[in-house]
Each structure stands twice: as structure tokens, then as C-alpha cells.
């Protein structure tokens, strides 16, 4: 080979490499010159729809807003949506479809903790970022996974601890009754409740665990009444919560009842299911928003919803109480994509998220991640609820629970 030929081949190779370099950068899945494809999933049908449908609408309206403002570094956000039915098998199928078939850049989804945890091994193997929608997903967050971020509404470990703190501090309880579910998140919030009770000088905690499909709560309520607690904390879903509040009233249990955020999907429906406003004489509800829903501080969220979904907003019961929870997860994705720069990679996005801190203007506390803790939200507020109106109890209440490997 002559020198001239060698130089020509070398020059041609360099030219090829120079052209190939940007093309390699473009090969990050889900990223094109004009779009960033994001895979979303949540329960959009069935009995758990309330946990996913409107939070997803909240997230979608934030993405739409960003697109309207020109997108992220000139790229429009493109969403591919799947229904996970709040079921572990369906959620894994959805995550696999979005990752392998739709080739999304990252996953933003999951509204049910137990189901979302099922995706952990898969996203770790595929090295795809998963930003949970509004699942607390503690089982996927602890021990920390490089690829998973969540608990934008609140970590379940924080729920139980915060409830006990509120009962002891604001309601001066010396003995606490506690009803949780016998499922994953029931176990998580109970673990934190026990830690908090110990932290407060070994407060007695009478725990009754019930199945989420329970139809008759007489037995656990009789046991709770027999233990004569100063306050009853409920960390159940809405349906068992309605049964318990109703039964407590029937049994003449007049101590304060505090309902965790997981049971407050639709307060109007809760009152209807209990069937008697008198039962709400001494009821408090936990919330994780920055203020009472509908307050001036949060009005912008509801205005935005009305603009994005005028037909839905006109229907009674909409937006649903969990709708705003979808926003901080979408905000996190957008902020991380912005921070990752014009040539985003999954690694860059993960790196940006690992030290992210911002005030969403929606939630009670800041959205805050550290390399060793990927649970976003840990603060809760409490409202006195009379069956009609909610009044804010001053202060925020936090759990002292810390993950110990």
C-alpha cells in the first residue's frame, strides 16, 4: 500500500468516526433529534384506578406545559402510556413493553407500592431509570437502587412515623390504637410507627392488621375499643377506612381518629360511604400537599387542570384528591432531563437526580434526593375534617425512621 493510499484510508476512517460519534450519542434509547420518549404506567382501570388515573393526568399536564414552552433543549416530550392494573405481573409486563418494544428513554410510573416493587430487578438489569408516579414504593427504594426514585407523595415509612408523631404531639395521646393493612405498605408504615412510638418513650401501640378486602370490621374495632386508646390511627385504604369510621361511631368510640393519606382518595365518597356526618366529629386526615386542597397556595394546580382537561374538570369528583401528586414526579423528570444537557444519557439523568432538591410548590415538604436516599417526600400535614370542610392543623410532622442496612 502506498503512503498516499494509507493516508487516504486513514482520512476516510477518521471522517467515518467523526460522523459516527454524534450518531452514537443519538443511539441512547428513546432520544431522537426532536423528541424524548417517556414510558408512563399506572392503574388506569379497575378498583385501584383512583390511585393512578388522575395523578397521571397531573403528570401529563406538566409534560404538556413543558412541550408548550418549547420542550427540553428543543426536544418535545413524547409519552407512551400503559395500564398496570395495580398488579405486579401486569406492571412488569408494562415496564418490559415500554422498555423493549417502545424503546423509551426512562420510565415514569407506578401508583401502587407492592406492584411497583416488582419492577425493581428488571429496571436494574436493564439499567433504565424508573421515576415512580405516586407510589411510595418503599420496597424498591430501600435499600437504595441507583435506578429508582419515588415516594413523591410520601414514603410509607414516613406515613406511620408521622401519624404517631401527630397523635402524640398534636392530640396528646399516651396510648395509641393503630389499624393497618396486612400487605406490603401496611408492614412498612407499621415499622416506622413502632420506631416513632419507641422514640417517644415507648408509647403503647395496639395494632390490628386487617385485609384490604375486609367487609366486617367489628372484631378489630372491638379489640381497639377494649384497649381504650387516646387516638386511633388508620393507615388503610378508603374502603376499610369508611367501614372503620362507621363502626367506631356505632360503637360509641369518640376518641380522635386520624386517617392516613392512603385512605383519602375521595373524601366526598368517604362521607357518603360512612353515611353519617356525625361520625366525623373527631376525625383528622393526613395530607401531603403544601396546604388544604383548593387553598390559594395550590389554586394554580387546579386552574392548570381545568385548562388541560375542561371536560373532566366539569364532572363531579374531579380532579380527584391525588391528582396533584403526579406533578412532582413529572417535575423531577423534567428537571433531570434539563440538567443532563442537550445530549442526555440515562447515566447523566440518574446523576442529576441523585442530588436533586427543589420545592415543587405542591407538596408539604421539598422534593429531596441524596445518593443514599431516593425517597422524595417525608413531611405531612394534618387537617381537621368535619365531613364537609377541612381546617389545617398548624405544623408539619415527620418520621424519625431511618433505613438501616
Amino acid at each position: 500500500m502506498t503512503l498516499r493510499l494509507r493516508l487516504t484510508v486513514l482520512a476516510a476512517s477518521l471522517c467515518t468516526l467523526a460522523h459516527a460519534a454524534p450518531a452514537l450519542a443519538q443511539q441512547e434509547p428513546g432520544i431522537s433529534e426532536k423528541t424524548i420518549r417517556i414510558g408512563m404506567f399506572a392503574p388506569l382501570s379497575g378498583s385501584s384506578m383512583a390511585y393512578g388515573f388522575d395523578p397521571m393526568n397531573g403528570a401529563k399536564m406538566w409534560y404538556a406545559k413543558i412541550n408548550k414552552e418549547g420542550g427540553i433543549h428543543g426536544r418535545q416530550i413524547e409519552l407512551v402510556i400503559e395500564d398496570d392494573r395495580c398488579n405486579a405481573n401486569d406492571l412488569v409486563a408494562a415496564a418490559k413493553k415500554l422498555t423493549e418494544q417502545d424503546k423509551v428513554f426512562l420510565l415514569n410510573g407506578g401508583s401502587c407500592s407492592a406492584a411497583t416493587v416488582a419492577a425493581r430487578e428488571y429496571v436494574e438489569r436493564e439499567k433504565i431509570p424508573l421515576v415512580m408516579l405516586n407510589a411510595s414504593g418503599d420496597g424498591a427504594l430501600y435499600p437504595v437502587s441507583k435506578y429508582i426514585y419515588g415516594a413523591f407523595s410520601i414514603s410509607q415509612y414516613a406515613v406511620g412515623g408521622s401519624m404517631v408523631q401527630f397523635g402524640a404531639e398534636a392530640l396528646k395521646a399516651k396510648k395509641i390504637g393503630y389499624i393497618n393493612h396486612d400487605d406490603a405498605y401496611g408492614a412498612w408504615n407499621l415499622a416506622a410507627a413502632k420506631v416513632q412510638a419507641k422514640h417517644l418513650g415507648d408509647l403503647p401501640l395496639n395494632v390490628q392488621s386487617v385485609n384490604s378486602n375486609i367487609n366486617d370490621v367489628t372484631a378489630p374495632m372491638l379489640r381497639i375499643r377494649a384497649s381504650n386508646p387516646d387516638v386511633l390511627l388508620l393507615t388503610t385504604y378508603a374502603r376499610p377506612a369508611a367501614l372503620i369510621i362507621k363502626k367506631a361511631h356505632e360503637l360509641g368510640f369518640d376518641k380522635p381518629i386520624v386517617l392516613a393519606v392512603t385512605g383519602t382518595a375521595d373524601l366526598r365518597q368517604l362521607v357518603e360511604n360512612v353515611g353519617n356526618k356525625e361520625a366525623f366529629k373527631n376525625v383528622y386526615i393526613q395530607d401531603v400537599l403544601a396546604d388544604v386542597p383548593g387553598s390559594p397556595k395550590l389554586q394554580w394546580v387546579y386552574d392548570m387542570y381545568k385548562e388541560a382537561y375542561p371536560d373532566l374538570a366539569a364532572r363531579p369528583g374531579y380532579p380527584q384528591p391525588y391528582m396533584p401528586y403526579g406533578l412532582p414526579s413529572a417535575m423531577t423528570v423534567v428537571n433531570a432531563l434539563k440538567a443532563a444537557g442537550p445530549q442526555p444519557t440515562r447515566e447523566k439523568v440518574l446523576e442529576a437526580m441523585s442530588t436533586m432538591k427543589f420545592d415543587s410548590g405542591v407538596m408539604a415538604g421539598p422534593i429531596e434526593f441524596t445518593p443514599t436516599d431516593h425517597a422524595a417526600q417525608k413531611a405531612a400535614i394534618y387537617l381537621k375534617f368535619d365531613g364537609d370542610k377541612s381546617t389545617l392543623v398548624p405544623g408539619t410532622f415527620k418520621s424519625v425512621w431511618k433505613y438501616e442496612p
Binding site: N87, A93, E100, E121, G139
Partner: protein
């Protein structure tokens, strides 16, 4: 004619399954793997309900035991997956044998309720035996190993899932055509008549429960080859009903029915996830359609209507009898 058609169907299926990984994504292979697990479960259900006519509503429990046994052995002892899933299947076979004792004392709805109770009790165990199953937090399964080859994704697990499913299909047809299969069907038609024919009814019932449970345990083991997580919530009555639906809609008493029911309903369930809020209505409509227009299932044993003519010219009664040679 029928077996020629079946053979052709098998050859086509084998060719499609062999070339499939070259053309589809990992997600499609995941769905196929899951469908194969449903096929094994449905074949097990077919043996006890379709062949022997015994009510058994405990399949989700045996399936769960298979998953946890194989998963635990794999996680803690890194056993080759063949050994771990065989262990799960052996354990469920033993439990199935014991559960079979119920079938000797009960029948129909009472048997159904007892097996249902067993299923519910097992789900409670999965949910609450925290030190072993990790309870309500769900159980994480490490990738299965076969001679050092880690089954880390659906593609790697696919050949093993297909081969084991094919083996189970072959075993089902073999059992069905064996003396035991004839004894199963004799018991299904009538305990007393079977006894009169010299069939050991007790042994046959026990065998049906044992084999059926072994199939479900093996299906659980298969699940661990491509899935990395199981939650006790997915091992409840709903799963049993899903498998029962597959067998009933496919056609009770037919191996083809059990397979196509499993594939059909597994696929419908996955495809309907795209239908968002209408999926339950569509699923309900499909089920109602089957019940209205094919109440005995798509591939149920056809019963030949035989006209028996009296020599005295009396009105000819129409009697339904089983077609000869139809066993599956």
C-alpha cells in the same frame, strides 16, 4: 384425521416458536414465557377437572409453592434450575397427594370448598411467613442458573421454558392415552361404575390430585426462570379462577382446549391492558359470548347423537353418548 391435524398444528407451533426469538422483542418473549406457564397450569387443571372430574380450586397455592420453593433453593443454594424446579414440583406433588385424601371423602361443591380453603390458607402463609417468603414485601428471585449459564432475561429463559412446556404436553397426552387416563375418565363418568369395572377409585383420585399439583408446582418453577419477583397477592383465588376459565372456555376434557384456552385467555388479558378503561367490559363480553355460544368450551369433547331405533316402531329416543376414541 384429528391426530393428523394436531400433528400439523404442533409442527407449525414448533417452527413458529423456534424462529420467534429472531424477530421479536424481549417483551414478546416475556409474554410467550408467561403463556407457557399458563399452559402448564392449565394442563394440570385439565388432568384433575377435565380428565377425572374432580373439583380442585387450589392451583394458585401449588403454583405459589412451586415459585417459592424453586426461588428459595435458587437464591440460597444456587441450585441448577432443573433441580430447583423439580424440588418444587415434588413438594407440591406430596401436598397434592395429601389433598387428594379430601377427594376420597368429599365431592362436588364440598370438595371445591375444601380445596379453596387450602388455597386461601396457603396464600396466608405466603403473606405472613416473613422469615421465609418475605411476606407482604414480595419475594425477589435471583436469576436461575443452569450449569453456570444465568437466565438473566426472557430470551435466555425462553428455550428452557419451551422445552419443559413441550415435555409437559407430551406427558399429558401420554397419561391421557395410558391406562391411568382411562381410569381417570372412568372415575369422571361414575365412581360406582368405575369401581364395578375394577378401577381403584381411591388410588386414581389421589393420582389425579398428585399429578395436577406437580404440574402447578412445575409451572411455578418455570415462572422463576424468567421472572424476578413474586407477590403473594398474585397467588390468590383470582389466579385459580383464571386457570379454571382457561380450561372451561377451552373445553373441559380436551388437551387442545386447555392449551388454546391458556394461550387465548393469557393473550386476551395482556392485549386488553391496551384497552384502558374498556378492558373489563370487553373481557366480560368475551366470557359471556363463550358461555352463550360455546357453553361446553371451544374444544370440548364432542358427543355423538345416536339414534336408537326400536324394532317395535316406537318413537325413537335420542340418546347422547361419548364418541368412541375421544379422550382428549
Amino acid at each position: 384425521m384429528k391426530s393428523r391435524f394436531d400433528l400439523m398444528l404442533l409442527v407449525v407451533a414448533a417452527v413458529v416458536l423456534a424462529v420467534l426469538p429472531m424477530f421479536v422483542t424481549g417483551y414478546v418473549l416475556y409474554v410467550v414465557n408467561l403463556l407457557m406457564v399458563f399452559v402448564v397450569l392449565a394442563l394440570g387443571m385439565h388432568l384433575v377437572i377435565g380428565e377425572t372430574g374432580q373439583f380442585a380450586l387450589s392451583h394458585a397455592a401449588f403454583y405459589g409453592i412451586g415459585i417459592y420453593t424453586a426461588g428459595l433453593l435458587n437464591n440460597h443454594f444456587q441450585l441448577p434450575f432443573i433441580l430447583s424446579i423439580l424440588a418444587g414440583s415434588l413438594l407440591t406433588a406430596c401436598l397434592g397427594y395429601m389433598l387428594g385424601a379430601l377427594a376420597l371423602r368429599m365431592r362436588d361443591i364440598y370438595l371445591a370448598l375444601s380445596t379453596f380453603a387450602f388455597g386461601e390458607a396457603m396464600q396466608w402463609v405466603f403473606m405472613n411467613w416473613n422469615s421465609v417468603t418475605n411476606g407482604s414485601n414480595g419475594f425477589r428471585i435471583a436469576p436461575a442458573q443452569i450449569f453456570g449459564y444465568a437466565l438473566t432475561n426472557d430470551l435466555r429463559a425462553y428455550p428452557f421454558v419451551i422445552v419443559i412446556t413441550a415435555l409437559m404436553l407430551w406427558a399429558t397426552v401420554w397419561i391421557s392415552r395410558s391406562q391411568l387416563g382411562s381410569a381417570f375418565r372412568a372415575v369422571r363418568e361414575s365412581d360406582i361404575a368405575a369401581l364395578a369395572m375394577g378401577v381403584d377409585v381411591n388410588r386414581v383420585k389421589r393420582m389425579a390430585f398428585t399429578l395436577s399439583a406437580a404440574y402447578a408446582g412445575l409451572a411455578g418453577g418455570l415462572y422463576t426462570t424468567f421472572s424476578s419477583f413474586v407477590h403473594p397477592e398474585s397467588l390468590g383465588f383470582q389466579t385459580t379462577i383464571l386457570v379454571l376459565t382457561m380450561v372451561v372456555v377451552g373445553g373441559i376434557g380436551s388437551v387442545r382446549g386447555a392449551i388454546l384456552g391458556a394461550i387465548g385467555f393469557g393473550l386476551i388479558s395482556e392485549l386488553l391492558r391496551q384497552a384502558l378503561s374498556f378492558q373489563e367490559i370487553i373481557y366480560g363480553a368475551i366470557l359471556m359470548g363463550f358461555m352463550m355460544f360455546a357453553p361446553r368450551g371451544l374444544f370440548a369433547e364432542r358427543r355423538k347423537r345416536v339414534r336408537i331405533t326400536s324394532t317395535t316402531h316406537a318413537p325413537a329416543p335420542v340418546v347422547a353418548t361419548r364418541a368412541s376414541g375421544e379422550s382428549a
